[in-house]
Every structure is written in C-alpha cells, then in structure tokens.
Subunit: 99 residues, 2 copies
C-alpha cells in the first residue's frame, strides 16, 4: 500500500469550503479502484495549508486509474476553486512504524 | 492530539543508517511526555526524502518538553549525521477523516 500526500494551500477564507468539498468527495474516493482511505490534516503554522492523505493499493491506481476517471473531474469541481496554487503531490510508503 | 511532520532529506547512501537510527531512537520517543506514536515514510519520487510522523498531546510537548530534553540530543546523535539539510518541521491536526 502507498499513501498519496497532496499538499494544498487554499485561498484565504476558503478553508470551510475546502473541508466541505473534501467531505462531499468521499464517495468518489470510496469507489475508486484500489483506494482504502482518505483524510485531511491542517497545519498549525500555516493555517491555509492542508495535506490530503489518500491510501492506494498502487501508485498507478492514483496516477492512471483515478486521474483518468470522470470522478477526478468531479473531485476537482468540488475543491479546485479553493486552491491557491497547484497541489504538490508525492507518494510515500511507511518504512518504520515504531509504535 | 497533534502530529509533528518533519521532512528529512538524507545524504545519498545514508538511507539504511537513518532507518536504523530511527528504530534505535524509538525508546526516547516512547518515554517522552505526551508522545503516543512515531513512524517514518519514504518518498517514491524522491527516495532520499523521509517524513517523520510523531504524535504528541500538545505542540509544546514537542517544541518545549522534548526539544529541551537530553533525549533530544540523543535523538540527534542517532540520526543527525544522516541529514542532508535541516529538517522542515510542521504540526498538523486531522480535520476530516472520511474513511
């Protein structure tokens, strides 16, 4: 399993809209091939900065299957207007889980 | 609860040393005031980039209590030589857990 991390800076005042859009988009991710989890975290130091975490079976489930789907367009319709800049996306794998 | 995210780029060839240092440091975090979890993830796109995730009861448990402790010096002794640059640290709170 891999985790997509999308660092998203939202426009000032769009925090509540963004969080509502993420909640509304949950069913799109739930039905996406290989997707097993989705959450967002908000930064203390930069309150307009969020990180979206999405768990995928493979990187391609995100980059090929989801990005190529109509649901990706729906996702962007729900939250894209909140973005201050293009999201910065990386994929990570947990290598040590100490406790 | 808050999560510390430290983005750490390690020097080329130091990946195994860094991961071993993190494992060796687990007891330092386990006994730290307010600490309830610690793990690292590695980037697919930038394999020398790690993210350390540490769960704390409060931001101050990290920034005041832990950073002011002798165990912080021990932690840096175990992994500091692996750092290619100073870690970039932020604190985040989960605001939406969709599934």
């Amino acid at each position: 399993m891999i985790t997509e991390i999308a660092q998203i800076d939202v426009k000032p005042g769009m925090e509540a809209d963004f969080e509502a859009g993420v909640k509304a988009a949950a069913p799109l991710f739930k039905r996406a091939k290989g997707c097993s989890g989705m959450s967002i975290s908000r930064s203390h130091e930069k309150p307009q900065r969020y990180r979206l975490y999405v768990k995928w079976a493979t990187v391609e489930n995100h980059t090929v299957d989801f990005r190529g789907s109509a649901d990706f367009q729906e996702w962007r319709k729900l939250v894209g207007h909140c973005f201050a800049s293009p999201p910065e996306v990386e994929h990570v794998t947990e290598t040590v889980h100490a406790f």
